[in-house]
Subunit: 330 residues, 4 copies
């Protein structure tokens, strides 16, 4: 079976997914939609697919699945539209910035018995998959403490920050998902600290740039998350999981594997500087997993529920910072 | 000038300090005191020093300085006794497990204008000193976030835990001191999570074995501390400091620098398994710094105040765990 | 301009190059040739290209360039045939196992003013390119000593070894090319040691499995090459270049970037186990460089001359082992 | 039993050995000899030992063992003198620069049934001992190829070079000894390349600064040695041993274990810059091993024979460079 795809949105991440679809053996790219016709044309040229409107796509019999890469505030509506149209839906995170809207959307998906996968690409990074496999294989025994370090090379533009829902919903949300994935147990309490250290403009926007979070589960497992919007040495993405029998960690990706030694010491290149080059393989694997789930009729590895839970943790972290309290999730 | 020393207590740590004194050029070991005469004799034999009682030492004209290595509950009394006797005092942490007692003790020291150095040896580890120097030299710009990982190979005996004041006062206290040292600013808020994951016996003793702490300062700097009583791969002691211009970290100490490659992969030896072998150089440097301060009439690098502040952070962490609140230090 | 390709030979390496051609934007795969029709069909199915005979391809007006992936003993004849047919030729190393035959072949290519690139893919590995760039950028000053370590996971089948020309012409030849590339100066003397340590069957075939080589240049630069046919930890490919101002090295590629710590130590996965997965990016870059040279009318980065020089070094190494002498190249 | 020592020569290496003797529990330093009285006095002051002439020491009943740290051209005579005087002798390498003189000297030692240990300290480095132990424990199976990299931070003064016997007898000789130790089999052939790349003054002195050597044994094991007199990044001392089941390597010693990350990359400090700080532990272990052999009446771990064999390899390497031939050892 070949899964026939349409991509909604031909921006940066839309192009990434278009390439992923085009290079997945069991998938084919049928159509692209974007209000900016040059963007749509560019994808059409590169992969030989049609240009259609979103509404046309939702009625296209030759489309089995869509990848939603449109602005965040359209996600929930589009998920519902395409779930109702009988298409399998892959949606970039987040489903919505509002928890109630997410809950409603998931209900629609469930009512339609539709397929919804939310884009948490880190779960599909080959190194993180190897780390998870080591845990699942028993290499470190029972998971006890997870340590996540995610640092961006630089803050996004003010405009982006304004619409982002804040650092916890925009950036930490990936770590919340990874935490749930690795802890293997739902989070019960959330506490956080947040401040602005890199740029006062971020404070003016009502957001933070430097945060630390502690999560705990019912059985006492703990996870810490460290985020900053500015790491001069590149895009820093580390995981360490400590267990009863040992620890497992995943190293960063550098620009190359060379090392130069001289009187100043031994220097290796900085890290890859952009999430798209860092997670190239993850984006491809993610689409391949979506395709495989559709083709095999199996559940997708991430769902709307995962999007919901990660957002709940983000909201709890914000509440913790605002109240100075440890927040219990119900 | 040669500083003439007596050591109070000939146990494990007393022997470490005896050796440090004996190998410090400007210091000489005059006397050892220990109620267990075999222990005192052993130190006397090794370094050719007298065996005296504690009271005799406090009246010995040929002793300039003492190192207090007796049980914790005697520390504050001995500090006061020797401060009054005009001796310079080096005391192993903690001064006392009770904050008020520590405050009183420090007042006595201050009233006597006595010298008191509290044993936070990590500040004297060559690698951590190199890390601190890199920060002071401006290599990472302004300090923003400190990440401390301290994991013991295994929990101490139940008897020790009972008298220890709990993991925060016994183990995390070293990290609290390192945090203050590296943040370069006093801590304003403390929040923590704690659980028992390695051994239910620790729960039965009313203690924890796995904790995470977040500290913040007035300017918004943050520090996280991760502790566990059980790391199968050895004594894990890591520091990472993130700043406006970069990050600096210090690596662990392994049993040796070899690496074996075979079909199972590339394996380096586990970490040194014991704090005394890990911090051998730190213990020697610490005594050398104490001697230099006395000889030069300069302040000691750590004082009773440092002991007090670290204990305040430990008490705040405990309160945070108990109340589910972020604790503000006054 | 789009360069229209045919691949001669649909075996393992032919498939690698077919994929590389298909994914190079400026190239298109027009035809495949292979006497085994199932092999040809498989490439045709995958990339939608014609199946043609070699002779048909040499007369195809719609083919600009060919990639020769046929058995070694056909290389020189095919290079000549396609050079005469006016096609640009990419040929897997070696041109031939016989030096005189290589010289004749190169003469034909020169007489036809044809384009010939010989497949030394290591020059196109991203890490090795970064290393070379660091040298060219002056990071280590003048190159003084090059150290090459190339170890295969396991020996090829006896049949392959028989026809390979021996380890120096089959395996070390890649290092000879890298040596020339990095030394930036032609090699003047060659000396070598060779023995059989991994499998007596290799001795029975008249070959070696473990060799070390020293090369020197006129100005006194030196290069050592270490090869073995058996490395239990994977496909080991390291370069280190020492210069007047420092050294630069390139690290191996592991199966993943995780590390597991437990009582046995810290273990990272073994190396990628196969030259094709290790050099995936190199093979793609190599074809891209060939395409760019054709499209831009610039010289190819490697030529028949490079194939010749590497083979001369291989022959000299063999002579050194046989005679116990340092061999001077004329 | 306490072994009573005298040190002959109070120079740099004499002071290292004096300290090693003083800190070895089973040894005591009785006397120091040096024609420069200030040097002798300094050692005497530091360790409270007598100052005596060499002749007086050879007749001192209270001296069991001597450490010869005098100029190279006095070594053989002093070894003979003290062997005849019934003292155990530890002599810094080399016994002599002339092979025949070494052979004669060893005969005298043998005739006297005297104890002679030659100072090849690398065998006593804790990391290299761990590497050797891994081999002996079977971690890599049968040893096949040894790779030794020894690079000095800078060349010694011209005066030193003149009297040194050349780089092979002065610097590579340590690697020759390590090669024999690790190969576990005597070397049968030697071939080498040598040039001057760092400083023409070295050429004027008739010496080389950059050399590579290949050694082979009867069973076909191979060893390469890479030396240069100039490594800008410090004192580079690496060993890698490849065997039938895997490889083992030993890493260098850096100034500290910190790493700084910024836009320029990840930088670790350069290597320790001086052989004495690099091999501090090795020098202490070496003397402890000598003392243990005397105290236990067991053979010393290195002997005059080891000094002889290493010198034979050095002479063969020189001959190989001069003749362009592989040199067979008889």
């Amino acid at each position: 079976m070949t899964v026939r795809f349409a991509i909604l949105g031909a921006g940066r991440i839309g192009q990434v997914h278009a390439k992923a679809v085009a290079s997945t053996p069991q998938a084919t790219l049928v159509a692209i939609a974007d209000p900016v016709s040059a963007a749509a044309q560019s994808v059409s040229d590169a992969y030989g697919c049609d240009i259609r409107t979103i509404d046309a796509i939702s009625q296209s019999a030759d489309v089995d699945a869509v990848v939603i890469c449109t602005p965040t505030d359209t996600h929930a509506d589009l998920i519902e539209q395409f779930a109702r149209a009988g298409k399998a839906v892959f949606c970039e995170k987040p489903v919505d910035l509002d928890l109630d809207r997410v809950r409603d959307c998931i209900k629609v998906v469930a009512a339609q018995k539709a397929t919804l996968m939310v884009g948490f690409q880190r779960r599909f990074d080959p190194d993180f998959m190897a780390l998870k496999k080591a845990i699942d294989d028993g290499a470190i025994g029972d998971v006890e403490m997870v340590t996540l370090t995610s640092r961006d090379p630089g803050a996004p533009p003010a405009d982006y920050i304004k619409r982002s829902g804040g650092i916890f919903r925009d950036m930490t949300i990936h770590d919340f998902d990874v935490a749930r994935w690795l802890l293997g147990e739902e989070v019960e309490t959330v506490q956080a600290a947040a401040s602005v250290l890199t740029d006062p403009a971020i404070k003016a926007l009502g957001d933070y740039d430097s945060v630390n979070v502690i999560l705990t589960t019912a059985s006492g497992k703990q996870c810490t998350i460290n985020n900053t919007r500015r790491a001069t040495y590149g895009y820093d993405q580390r995981i360490e999981v400590h267990g009863s029998l040992g620890s497992v960690s995943a190293e960063n990706h550098r620009e190359s594997r060379i090392e130069i030694a001289n009187g100043a010491g031994y220097t290796r290149p900085p890290l890859l500087n952009f999430f798209m080059s860092r997670y190239t393989a993850a984006y491809a694997n993610e689409i391949a997993a979506f395709v495989a789930a559709i083709a095999n009729g199996t559940p997708t590895p991430t769902t709307g529920f995962d999007g919901l839970k990660a957002l709940e943790l983000a909201d709890a972290a914000i509440k913790s910072v605002e109240t100075g309290q440890v927040i219990k999730l119900s």
